[in-house]
Structures are given as structure tokens and as C-alpha cells.
């Protein structure tokens, strides 16, 4: 009995042209069309109630979901990439509280979750397990990587059940909806513009990045790098693995070779260590971009630096379950559900700090769960199943 997963077909997957092995894909992250699109979306108007940004979206193609409309409770299967960093952990907590609401409302019976621990292969197996064994009424997938998960997501689509993809995309539009904030280019544009406005030609920016090869992160730097180059800002980038020890060493070494006017980060992790490196060296604090992570916001307030906190909207973790609710209600959902992604500026800083008082350092200010049950203890104590 030969069993082949039926969805494996000749034409699935991305259309990457073959290149000889070892050829680099450097600089290929920059995509002018996407850049332009996201640049526009930064100023687009979002549909929906601004008090509930997790339900806002940019008007565009909508998916008709009337075929899924059905009464009663439904089982959702969630293939999560991992909860290996504070951003994902915060989102995961929010998602669980949202689940509670929907369970209480009788929309969702249960959500079965498999965590792939950052492993593509595991996540593929997880999705296959859900397809074979899960009795799922809907799939939620937060892909660990784009190309590798594409076939598995397609297989989930083949089941005819609704599929919600969020955070990172896949190279197929078979999903019922793909939920994500505007994106990395927008982040890069926001941050680079902020820095270049405040710096002069020839000033130096040190960019502290986490890992190579993650598209969401690579887009941020691709956009920022381009803008820095255009504006004549000297930018050096490092991969730090989000380890504050590394960050501090890098900044110390950079400060030993010359002054730094700006610091750019592709995530808030470790921003504090970067600032402290300046303090310890007795240097003037830089102009800086971080993230809406509490540690950075607090340090920002404390030091009074000139900074911006771009946001990779953490509240997007609520949206998939709400999308499932809409889908089973037969309401149409955006085919590509672009959520707002608004940086926190200096004048909003105090407000966001106040809203998140008592939250731990690894918490994200724009987590968007203030109206959910368990607020604020669950987030303060980071309770997760």
C-alpha cells in the first residue's frame, strides 16, 4: 500500500531558479516592489476600530468564507513554530487568553497545539499529524520558515478546512487568510528614516541584528541599509544572537575604535545592553531605535535618549483565533490581513509605559490583551499552558 501525500504536486513550492551551490543570496533580500508596497502601507488607512487594532486591516481582496459557516464549537489545530523568544512567548500568552474567550463563547471547543521548537522538519511532521490524526476543523499555522513550510501548508489547505497563516508567510495563497503586520520593510523604513533625520552624513550607525536568514528580520535590515547608503550614513552590522553580552562587547569594541552616533536594532532584545555600553564607556548616548519591549522602553525613559520603538505588532497573535471565529460565522476575511504596525514615538512613551506597568522586561507594550480575561496577572506572571 503506497501512500503518497496527494498534495505533493509538480508545481508546488516557490519558483526559485536553480543556482550553483555556494552561490550567495546576499543582497537578494531587497525587493523593490515589496518595499514600495510596504512604504505605502505605512500611511494607509486601516479598516475597523482603531481601539481594536488586532481586527484592523487594509482594504483589499476578501476571501468568501460562507462555505465554512457552521454552528457549534469547532476544534482548532495550531502548528506553532516555537515559543523560544520573548516576543513569541508574549504572543502565545495573549493567544491563550483569547482562546479562553472564544471557548467561553462556545465558538471553539479546544485548540490542540504542537510546538516545533524552531525546527522546520518537526513542524512539517506536526502539520501532517494534524491532517491525519487531529480531527481539526481549522488550522492555524505560524510557519517556522517560508519556503520549507509551503508544501505542508498546501497539504493542510487540501483538506478543505480553513487555514489561517500568521506572522511569517508561505509561498502559496491557498490559506484562507494570511495575517501579518505591514512587514520588515516598513520597520526598516521607519527606523532608518528616524535615524537619518537626526544624523548627519558621515555619522556612524551600528546595527545589532539577531540572526541571519530569517526573512522577517532580513527585510528590516535590507530596507534600513538601503536608506543609510542613500543618506551617506556609515553603517556596520553585526549578528548578536540577541545575547546582551555580545552586544555589549561589540559596542565596546566599536567605541574603542571611534564614536558612534546611532544604534539600530532589528529587535528590542538587548537594547539595554547597547545603551549601557555607552554609559560604561562614558560616551554620549546615541540616537537609537529599539522595539516595544518593556526593557527598552524603560531604559529609554530613564536615560531620556532620542529614540524610536518600532513595533512588530505583537497583538497579531489574537487575530488568528478571531479570524477563525469570523470564518465559522461565514463572515468574509481579508485574503491578506495586513495589521497596523505603528512605532512608538517619544511623545507616546509615557502612555505605553503606564499602560504596561508591572509587566516584566520581556513583555511587549503593544501586546493588545488589556481586554482579555486574566489581565494583567497572566502577562505579569507569564502564565502559559
Amino acid at each position: 500500500a503506497c501512500t503518497t501525500d496527494p498534495s505533493i504536486t509538480e508545481n508546488t513550492g516557490g519558483a526559485t531558479e536553480g543556482a550553483s551551490p555556494g552561490a550567495t543570496e546576499q543582497a537578494e533580500w531587497f525587493d523593490q516592489a515589496l518595499y514600495d508596497e510596504q512604504n505605502e502601507q505605512r500611511s494607509a488607512t486601516f479598516e475597523g476600530n482603531p481601539d481594536e487594532p488586532w481586527l484592523q486591516y487594509i482594504a483589499g481582496d476578501m476571501t468568501d468564507t460562507s462555505e465554512f459557516a457552521s454552528e457549534g464549537e469547532h476544534k482548532v489545530c495550531f502548528a506553532n513554530a516555537s515559543i523560544s523568544n520573548p516576543w513569541r512567548q508574549t504572543g502565545w500568552i495573549t493567544m491563550n487568553q483569547q482562546l479562553q474567550v472564544l471557548q467561553d463563547e462556545g465558538v471553539i471547543s479546544e485548540m490542540e497545539t504542537r510546538d516545533a521548537k524552531d525546527n522546520d522538519n518537526t513542524q512539517i511532521a506536526d502539520i501532517d499529524y494534524f491532517i491525519n490524526e487531529g480531527n481539526c476543523d481549522a488550522f492555524i499555522i505560524s510557519p517556522n520558515s517560508t519556503a520549507a513550510l509551503t508544501p505542508a501548508v498546501e497539504r493542510a489547505c487540501e483538506t478543505g478546512k480553513p487555514v489561517v497563516v500568521f506572522d511569517r508567510g508561505v509561498e502559496t495563497d491557498c490559506a484562507t487568510t494570511f495575517i501579518h503586520p505591514i512587514g520588515g520593510f516598513a520597520w526598516g523604513i521607519d527606523t532608518a528614516n528616524f535615524l537619518t533625520e537626526r544624523l548627519q552624513e558621515g555619522d556612524k550607525v551600528v546595527a545589532l541584528r539577531i540572526l541571519p536568514g530569517v526573512d522577517v528580520l532580513e527585510h528590516r535590515w535590507a530596507a534600513a541599509e538601503k536608506i543609510f547608503a542613500e543618506k551617506g550614513i556609515e553603517a556596520t552590522d553585526y549578528f548578536t544572537g540577541a545575547d546582551p553580552t555580545e552586544i555589549k562587547k561589540i559596542i565596546s569594541d566599536e567605541l574603542a575604535t571611534g564614536d558612534i552616533q546611532g544604534v539600530w536594532m532589528d529587535a528590542g532584545d538587548g537594547a539595554v545592553a547597547a545603551i549601557e555600553a555607552f554609559e560604561d564607556a562614558g560616551k554620549e548616548l546615541p540616537v537609537m531605535t529599539g522595539e516595544d519591549e518593556m526593557s527598552f522602553l524603560r531604559k529609554w525613559q530613564e536615560t531620556g535618549i532620542d529614540a524610536l520603538a518600532p513595533v512588530y505588532s505583537n497583538f497579531q497573535w489574537r487575530t488568528p483565533l478571531l479570524a477563525v471565529q469570523k470564518i465559522f460565522a461565514g463572515e468574509e476575511v481579508p485574503a491578506e490581513w495586513v495589521l497596523p504596525q505603528e512605532p512608538i514615538t517619544a511623545d507616546e512613551l509615557d502612555e505605553w509605559l503606564k499602560r504596561n506597568e508591572g509587566m516584566p522586561d520581556g513583555h511587549y507594550a503593544k501586546f493588545g490583551g488589556e481586554d482579555l480575561p486574566g489581565y494583567p496577572e497572566v502577562w505579569q506572571q507569564r502564565q502559559m499552558p
Binding site: T16, N121, A125, G213
Partner: protein
């Protein structure tokens, strides 16, 4: 000095491979019960297929790791070889089925060359396997991080079938892995180089004095280990459809494969152990993962369980390998020689 007579109870007489499978059986029973409490069937085709899929990638690597450990070395570079092989395969194939063979050959060829380099560093330069392969892993990882950002290339449909096809609930990839295991067993037990692998791992000097060119088994084991890591890379390229520079390190296959080998009863110091045991170790890990996933354990708690199981399971038979002479007098529990006990650690 000591004899094969072991502790008086019957448990103590079991060869360690049998104990591995007893532990596996225990895991299976406990798993079946636990899974049943969630209203699932542990033995449903989907679940079995899921478990077996979980064995194949780690299986390839652990088989190779067994050879390397038997010969008295270690291989910490496997995850990076796996990633590199997946990239080479996907890059060369470039979604064209006519390129499958060149892709496979080149991927395995490059893996073999890395294995050769590992072997030469260990056997020729006399660098401890831990350091040699840690270094080699770092070298490759730097290369990967610099030259590949994100996934790369694409494997064609025909090749992706390998990762997606199954005979009933048994994935083809698992069958290929088992075939490799059989080949490795034949190599170990039926060929000279296999005998020499045991000999060199058992005692390098004895092997040398017996006229064995000790470099050969060391290098052979390293090459095979790398090639099997390359096979794992091919399998991953087939399952993912693309090559990925991080797919090996994502799996943590270096330490996990060593743990599986030791869990399978092979001595970390070399010279004693078996592929069958290793397969048992891999199976235990796969079942454990499956059970914990079905139980929806918090991913962090999974690590805790995994860590504890590794130590406890190895402890079950590690104590037993202290060999004693049969007692001449008295029939009670033979007392352990105090010194040996202290030392054997």
C-alpha cells in the same frame, strides 16, 4: 581482571541491547496508556507514521554517530554537514528531476570529504574527536552563515516523493534509514574494517600492535558518519523541498544523536556497542517526543523530561556494566568491590 559473570539477579545478566528494548517497550506501554487518556490511539497509522518519521532523520545521524563513538571518537559537526548537504542537494537539483543524481552525489561527496577531513584530523593530527569535530562544525557553520541566508534551491517533485511516501504507515525514509542500519551492521560485524573499528575503539595500542593500520577504521567511521549526516540532509531537503542552512542545527542533532547512541547501550569511550541498540535509543526518543506532543506538554517541560529520561535511562544499565567474578561463597547479593565501584565512574 573481571569476568562476564554479572550481578546475581536476572536483570543484570541481560545484554544492554535487551535492556534498551525493554526501556523502549516500557515507553511504548506508558505512551499507549497516556495517549489513550487523551482519547487518541497510540497505534493509529497516523501516529505510527508520525513516530517513525521522527526516527528517520535522527536515525541516520545516530547510526553514523555509533560508528564514530565505537571507534573512540565523536562527531559534533553532523548538524552542519546535514545543513550543507541539504543546500547542495537543493541547489544542484534546482527543481529539475534530471539533476537528482548529480545533486545526491555531490551532496554525499562533499559530506564524505568533510568526514575524511574529520578523520584525518583525528587520526593523523591526533586531535581529540570532540575538538576536531567541534572545530569542523564551527568552520562549516561560519561558511553557511556567511554564504546562505535563508533557504536555497529547490528539490524536484520526484525527489520530494521520497520524504512524503510511505508503505502503509511506514515512511520510505524510515525504510531507507533501516537499510542503512543493516548495511552498517554488516560493515561492523562482517567486514574487516568493522572488526577494526571495535578494535581501535577498544584499545588503540592493541589494535596497532596487532598490525591494524589504525587510521583506516577511524577515517572510515568518520566518513560514513558524515555521509549518513549527508543522507539526513538529503532527506530533509526532500521533506522541506528546499535546502536550509539551519535545518541541522535546528534539530540539535549533534548532542541528541550522541545521547541516542549512549541510550542505546554503546560505551561513550568506544569499543563496545551496537547499531541495534542505537536504533532502540532513537525509537525511545521518537516515542517520547510523540507522547509529549500528543499530551501537549509545555515545550520547556518537554526539555526537562528529555533531560531526565536521558540520565535515568542510561543510569539503569550503566551501573550494570561493572563486571564481577561469580561469587565462590554465599548466595546472597554479591557485594560490589568497593574500589572498582568508586572508580568506574
Amino acid at each position: 581482571m573481571s569476568s562476564t559473570w554479572k550481578a546475581g539477579n536476572s536483570f543484570g545478566r541481560l545484554p544492554s541491547t535487551h535492556i534498551v528494548y525493554l526501556v523502549a517497550l516500557l515507553t511504548l506501554v506508558v505512551g499507549a496508556v497516556l495517549v489513550a487518556t487523551t482519547g487518541r490511539n497510540f497505534f493509529s497509522p497516523g501516529n505510527i507514521s508520525s513516530i517513525l518519521t521522527g526516527t528517520s532523520v535522527l536515525g541516520f545521524i545516530a547510526i553514523g554517530q555509533t560508528l564514530v563513538i565505537l571507534v573512540g571518537s565523536l562527531d559534533l559537526s553532523v548538524p552542519y554537514v546535514t545543513s550543507l548537504a541539504s543546500l547542495i542537494a537543493a541547489g544542484v537539483m534546482a527543481n529539475s528531476s534530471s539533476n537528482i543524481l548529480p545533486g545526491v552525489l555531490l551532496a554525499l561527496g562533499v559530506s564524505a570529504v568533510i568526514g575524511l577531513a574529520n578523520g584525518l584530523i583525528v587520526a593523523g593530527l591526533k586531535v581529540h574527536g570532540f575538538i576536531a569535530t567541534l572545530g569542523m562544525g564551527l568552520i562549516i557553520s561560519g561558511y553557511l552563515a556567511t554564504n546562505f541566508k535563508g533557504s536555497f534551491g529547490q528539490t524536484p517533485f520526484a525527489f520530494r516523493l521520497v520524504g512524503a511516501t510511505g508503505l502503509g504507515p511506514v515512511p520510505v525514509s524510515t525504510l531507507i534509514m533501516l537499510a542503512c542500519a543493516v548495511l552498517a551492521m554488516v560493515l561492523l560485524h562482517r567486514t574487516r574494517v568493522g572488526h577494526h573499528i571495535y578494535a581501535v575503539g577498544g584499545d588503540l595500542n592493541v589494535a596497532r600492535m596487532s598490525g591494524i593500520r589504525v587510521q583506516t577504521p577511524i577515517i572510515t567511521a568518520h566518513i560514513i558518519c558524515s555521509v549518513l549526516a549527508g543522507m539526513a540532509g538529503l532527506l530533509l531537503a526532500s521533506r522541506l523541498g528546499v535546502g536550509s542552512p539551519t535545518v541541522g542545527s535546528q534539530g540539535g542533532y549533534d548532542l541528541l544523536s550522541i545521547a541516542a547512541v549512549v541510550l542505546g547501550g554503546t560505551l561513550l569511550a568506544g569499543g563496545k556497542g551496537s547499531i541495534t541498540g542505537t536504533l532502540g535509543g532513537v525509537l525511545i526518543f521518537a516515542m517520547l517526543d510523540n507522547i509529549m506532543s500528543v499530551m501537549q506538554l509545555n515545550p520547556f517541560v518537554k526539555d526537562v523530561v528529555r533531560g531526565i529520561v536521558i540520565v535515568v535511562a542510561v543510569a539503569v544499565y550503566a551501573r550494570r556494566t561493572i563486571l564481577k567474578r561469580p561469587p565462590r561463597f554465599g548466595h546472597g547479593q554479591p557485594e560490589e568491590p568497593a574500589t572498582k565501584q568508586e572508580v568506574a565512574a
